[in-house]
């Protein structure tokens, strides 16, 4: 058994690292201040394949599998979370919904532009009255001739304000709930009755956009029912969320590793009481605890991603790694700020931004409580 990044993914890891250090870290403050990733960078990322990591080559993807995708996201974790958030929502839940649930024709039609980064995808499940209880969505889908008519409001859709293609989950029959009652639709920007509502002002993740999507008698052609089957949307959503959760954890691992490196460097440099603060056991234990947890989370990510690549279902592992890595990231960034002292609290320090960016990890793609529910359900079943 080998827990290292496989040989064939090492060059991929290194290339993403060099891109992150060469292109993204120099502009992370700018992305934060402008609340925008420059278009030229997005174009460059698209050309290099950053928007199609896990998907097979036949759809224009990189063919790196879920493990390769996670290894890349780990590297993206080393800069502003705007990048991993954009890529994550686009890839793991947006495009992935089409890849997992779409018909061959839908995959051929949509994935090549998405994997090339020419179009951006979003995943739209959450509603004002339906968050953790995702099966209770109210947005309705009614068949009318050869089209479906969507009505309702979706909120907090990552990439929603900029997306060209949105996978929208709507209730075709509210009495049926999760099994049979929810259908996924591929909605394109510009469809009649579809518009972007309020763009949210968030605590962190600046440079990544999250907002409201409004459907008012929105017309969706019959052939845009994902997979061509009515009522199977919830399964697709859960499948996409599995890889979403694992890759989100990968980003958390990369970000925490980067922060730990910053803390190590700072603690060796910063002199108080006549010696570097790193000589104090109080500091050493914070570093050591962080290293232990990062190591554990990384192995959990690789294990879950490798299972997915082998075709094994890994929903419980996905929930475990999501809850562990997101909570780990919160503890690590807190310690790292502590080690930086007042400096870490200042906007000029990347630690301040990372502290705000880490908080969302325990909330979206299923809260920590929801992950524990999933794990416990599995433990207690039968």
């Amino acid at each position: 058994m080998d827990f290292d990044v496989p040989e064939e993914l090492l060059l991929l890891k290194r290339t993403v690292r060099e891109f992150v250090e060469g292109r993204l870290q120099p502009i992370e403050k700018q992305v934060e201040d402008d609340d925008k990733i420059p278009d030229a960078i997005l174009k460059e990322m698209g050309a290099l394949g950053f928007f199609g990591l896990p998907f097979p080559e036949e759809y224009g993807g990189v063919g790196a599998g879920d493990l390769g995708y996670c290894v890349a996201l780990e590297e993206f974790g080393r800069t502003s979370a705007a990048f991993s958030n954009l890529i994550g929502a686009h890839t793991a839940i947006g495009s992935m919904s089409i890849y997992l649930g779409g018909t061959e024709a839908q995959k051929k039609q949509y994935l090549p532009d998405l994997t090339a980064g020419k179009k951006i995808a979003a995943f739209s499940l959450t509603e004002p009255s339906s968050g953790s209880d995702a099966a209770s969505i109210q947005t309705s889908a009614k068949k009318q001739g050869d089209r479906w008519i969507l009505n309702g409001t979706k909120i907090w859709v990552t990439n929603g304000p900029i997306a060209d293609v949105v996978v929208v989950y709507a209730a075709n029959d509210r009495t049926l709930g999760a099994r049979g009652g929810i259908t996924a639709f591929i909605v394109e920007k510009g469809y009649t009755g579809f518009r972007v509502g309020k763009v949210d002002d968030k605590m962190g993740l600046r440079g990544s956009y999250t907002g409201e999507l409004v459907f008012e008698d929105c017309e969706v052609p019959e052939e845009n029912v994902l997979g061509g089957t009515v009522g199977s949307g919830f399964r697709t959503a859960l499948g996409a969320l599995d890889i979403g959760r694992i890759s989100l954890a990968a980003g958390a691992v990369g970000s925490s590793q980067h922060l730990l490196e910053l803390a190590i460097a700072h603690s060796k440099r910063r002199v108080q009481f006549g010696k570097p603060i790193a000589v104090n056991q109080a500091i050493q234990w914070m570093l050591a605890d962080s290293a232990v947890e990062i190591h554990a989370a990384r192995l959990m990510v690789y294990d879950a991603a490798a299972k997915m690549d082998r075709g094994t279902r890994a929903s419980t592992e996905a929930a475990m790694v999501k809850v562990f890595a997101s909570e780990m990231a919160g503890r690590v960034v807190d310690r790292v700020m502590q080690i930086h002292g007042g400096m870490g609290y200042m906007k000029e320090s990347p630690v301040e931004r990372a502290y705000r960016d880490a908080r969302i990890l325990r909330i979206y793609e299923g809260t920590s409580e929801v992950q524990r529910m999933i794990i416990a359900e599995e433990l207690l079943k039968a």
Binding site: E8, L11, R14, T15, E18, L48, E57, V62, G63
Partner: protein, 255 residues
């Protein structure tokens, strides 16, 4: 047009080089290996020709041991069409003339229109292999090249000179040694990386390398540790400034 780039695998520029206990080599454990930076510029220059004319074939070749394949794969991932490894016993200890001769026998068969090398390797900075290869092939050599463009009568070659550049013309095959230029080498694309992984890299035995000049490293020494520097603290700022100016002029000799 068929372009061949000779690349060398060297310790990455971020490596902290340590002298090995034998005093004549460096510790190679844990080193990250890369394509020598000037060779990367040569690859970029060649790939630009391919961007402009799709029928251009860009090949890479390297002389070395098994790990040299990683460098060749990276070149494939950047967009090169094929790669050849010249290898065999002693391949990674050949001197520059031996390497030039080994490359020559491969080039005799591969028959490229132009051969590009970095102007020097970033590890030993010898700048020897390119010109030696031109000599071995009996081809002309143009140094410090920053740009090439096809022209009616062959190839136009931009060569850096003090304060500007000269444009040379090659009517036939030539060896160019490439200088850093404004266009940074491209990143390997991620699909390129995955494809490169699957590509076969043919190996050729090292032949024709008898090296009349033997270069032996007698001793390697790390540079002396840097001194602590001088800090002017407290006291009269004007006096400090005067003292600093004197030191910069007389001691550091930078003024």
């Amino acid at each position: 047009m068929r372009l061949l780039i000779c690349i060398k695998q060297v310790p990455d520029s971020t490596t902290r080089v340590k002298v090995a206990p034998d005093g004549t080599s460096i510790v190679t454990d844990g080193i990250t290996w890369s394509i020598s930076p000037y060779d990367e510029y040569a690859i970029e220059l060649a790939l630009e020709q391919k961007d402009n004319a799709a029928d251009t074939v860009v090949s890479v070749i390297s002389v070395g041991g098994p790990r040299t394949k990683d460098a060749l794969r990276q070149a494939l991932a950047m967009g090169c069409d094929d790669a050849t490894l010249v290898t065999g016993e002693g391949a990674d200890t050949l001197g520059p003339l031996g390497i030039a001769n080994a490359l020559k026998s491969a080039i005799d068969e591969l028959k490229p229109d132009l051969v590009l090398c970095g102007k020097q390797a970033s590890d030993d900075d010898q700048g020897f292999v390119g010109p030696a290869l031109a000599e071995a092939l009996g081809w002309p050599h143009v140094a410090v090249v920053t740009k090439v463009a096809p022209s009616a009568a062959g190839t136009e070659i931009w060569k850096e000179v003090e304060g500007g550049h000269e444009v040379w013309k090659a009517s036939g095959a030539a060896v160019l040694t490439v200088q850093k230029s404004e266009k940074e080498p491209r990143y390997p694309s991620l699909p390129g990386i995955m494809k490169a992984k699957k590509k076969e890299i043919p190996e050729r035995p090292v032949t024709g390398v008898e090296d009349p000049v033997t270069i032996e490293i007698v001793k390697l020494e790390p540079p002396p540790a840097r001194g602590g520097g001088k800090i002017f603290k407290d006291g009269d700022v004007k006096a400090h400034a005067a003292a600093l100016a004197t030191l910069l002029r007389d001691e550091a000799k930078v003024l």
